[in-house]
């Protein structure tokens, strides 16, 4: 088997003695679409924060294509090909949409340290940003201030910022949350259009859209992986029913 795109081993994190992530291990193959589900408080977002480095793990290992990352800062992880979106929208509201995405492109460019010339309003940075906006269908709104966008557009802008970095592994934290049925379809099809050289791990609720998107599903409960497998396997598993139906 080839080296997994993302390998998490025995990852632990406690908050004041309460384990939020308890010995979690999972492996995601290159190009795979993985869905992580679980009831509220199952530790899904904590797991993402540990993978991205927003939180420091107490113990365990996080490897990206075989490279150990658990001691790296989030920005160092980003430079190694990891990108994420946030459940709560964290854009720069006063700036234009294209400038938001340009900042994302700049994050991986050595030019981010340049302090003696103005941030170019055109050129390669902007072209890359516009290309990312085109992928999520927001190119016509590029000059709009983020504060003027609708909620659904902001969600897509979040995804554009992640895509603009062309990551090897993309973590999506509830990309469909709070969207209308039509908007869901838009986001779903844009996620499906992402080429297979990008590996995607997605946190979502157990909606049909999310279940259809993923090849494999991991179910978290109280910080533990309780079930992992294909959709059919997970749905049929008695533990899944127990967690979701309390039976």
């Amino acid at each position: 088997m080839s080296v997994p795109a993302l390998a998490v081993r025995q990852l632990c994190k406690s908050f004041g003695g309460l384990p939020a992530t308890d010995n979690v291990s999972l492996e995601v193959a290159p190009g795979e679409r993985r869905l992580v589900i679980g009831p509220n408080g199952a530790g899904k977002t904590t797991l993402f924060n540990l993978i991205s480095g927003d939180l420091r793990a107490d113990a365990g290992s996080v490897r990206l294509f075989g490279e150990e990352m658990v001691k790296l800062r989030p920005d160092q992880r980003a430079h190694r090909g990891l990108a994420r979106t946030y459940q709560i929208i964290t854009l720069f509201p006063r700036d234009s949409l294209v400038r938001n995405v340009m900042l994302s492109v700049l994050g991986l460019s050595p030019r981010r340290w340049h302090a003696w010339r103005p941030l170019p309003g055109s050129g390669e940075l902007r072209d890359k940003a516009l290309a990312a906006l085109a992928r999520v269908g927001l190119e016509p709104l590029a000059e709009r201030a983020v504060s003027e966008l609708s909620y659904g557009e902001k969600r897509r802008a979040e995804i554009a910022m992640a895509l603009a970095q062309n990551p090897r592994v993309l973590l999506l934290d509830e990309p469909l949350a709070g969207l209308s049925v039509e908007e869901r379809k838009v986001v779903q099809s844009l996620l499906e259009a992402i080429p297979r050289d990008m590996t995607i791990v997605m946190i979502e609720h157990d909606t049909d859209a999310a279940l259809a998107f993923a090849e494999r599903i991991t179910v978290l409960h109280y910080g533990n992986v309780i079930v992992e497998g294909t959709r059919a396997e997970v749905v049929a598993h008695p533990r899944t029913r127990e967690v979701y139906l309390g039976a």
Partner: protein, 314 residues
């Protein structure tokens, strides 16, 4: 284009100012405003663009000034060499202070900068063999760039103006650069910026050092303006005053610190001639600004202006 014309007009106005004022006293006052403006612009990098409120910025003005005076008086170095040494020393100090202060942000950052500033103030008072204690250091001679005598008010004003224009242009470039965009991003969404690959701590530290450098530039001008330096330059009052200049003028704007500096220096100087309790007047003005133009004079007036135009157009 339009901006370039406005900038040229601004520089021309500042260059013609001494002719319009005539009186030497007001020319000196204008020099004070420009020096205070450089000082406020340096703090604005941290407070406005970096979102890091420092209450110890007098450290850089004071150390820049003390180092200039000490090197010149002790080793007999020329005014320019002393100034250059002072800039180097103060910038190095900012590099070390940045490491300490940036262990925290928000209130923690404010308290650490305050404490570091107070240490220096204490040193200036107590380390008499170096600082002259309460008496300060005096007997400096102003520099003579290209043989021009800066003893009089006007030549010194023009000297200050040249430095001010250079500082303004370089700081303007700095905040509009990719680095400036990163700094403002780190102010608004530090977590997001980190996830995007920006080293937020390093960005803030560099901004801290750059801010300290420009503070030192103001300090060198300050000591040559007064030809004297005393612990007052390092006092908490000095730090608070420059912070008020930034907040009153408008943080994260280029013109705000200049407007704030002009306000504070003029009220202090002009009003104190007529009103005994001029600090009270300054206080009232600040309260009014905070109440009616909470984002500062420059953004506030700009907003009122835009509203007016919008109301006129049907």
């Amino acid at each position: 284009m339009k901006r370039a014309v406005l900038a040229a007009a601004g520089v021309a106005a500042l260059a013609l100012l001494p002719c319009a004022l005539g009186n030497e006293y007001y020319v000196n006052l204008s020099s004070q405003v420009l020096i205070a403006a450089i000082f406020a612009m340096s703090l604005n990098i941290l407070v406005g663009y970096g979102g890091l409120v420092s209450l110890g910025h007098a450290a850089y003005l004071g150390v820049g000034a003390y180092a200039t005076a000490w090197v010149a008086l002790r080793f007999g170095l020329g005014p320019f060499a002393s100034g250059a040494v002072a800039l180097g020393v103060t910038t190095l100090m900012a590099a070390a202070y940045g490491v300490l202060a940036l262990r925290a942000s928000g209130l923690g950052f404010l308290m650490i900068t305050l404490a570091l500033g107070q240490i220096l103030w204490g040193l200036a008072y107590r380390w008499v063999s170096v600082t002259g204690g309460d008496n300060g250091l005096s007997g400096l001679v102003r520099p003579r760039p290209f043989g021009i005598d800066l003893t009089d008010a006007r030549p010194f004003y023009y000297f200050t103006l040249v430095v001010f224009v250079a500082a303004f242009a370089l700081i303007a470039l700095f905040v509009r650069s990719p680095f400036g965009a990163s700094l403002q991003g780190a102010r608004d969404q530090p977590r997001r910026m980190t996830a995007l690959g920006f080293h937020v701590w390093m960005i803030r530290w560099i901004a801290f050092v750059v801010s300290g450098f420009w503070g030192a530039v103001a300090g060198v001008l300050y000591v040559y303006y007064n030809n004297f330096i005393s612990p007052h330059a390092l006092s908490l009052t000095q730090s608070a005053e420059v912070l008020l200049m930034v907040i009153a003028g408008g943080p994260a704007t280029l013109l705000g610190p200049l407007v704030g500096a002009a306000l504070v220096v003029l009220v202090k100087d002009v009003a104190s001639a007529y009103v005994e309790r001029w600090t009270l007047l300054l206080g009232v003005i600040f309260v009014a600004i905070v109440l009616f133009l909470p984002d500062g004079l420059v953004p506030g007036v700009r907003r009122l202006w835009v509203d007016r135009i919008a109301r006129r157009a049907p």
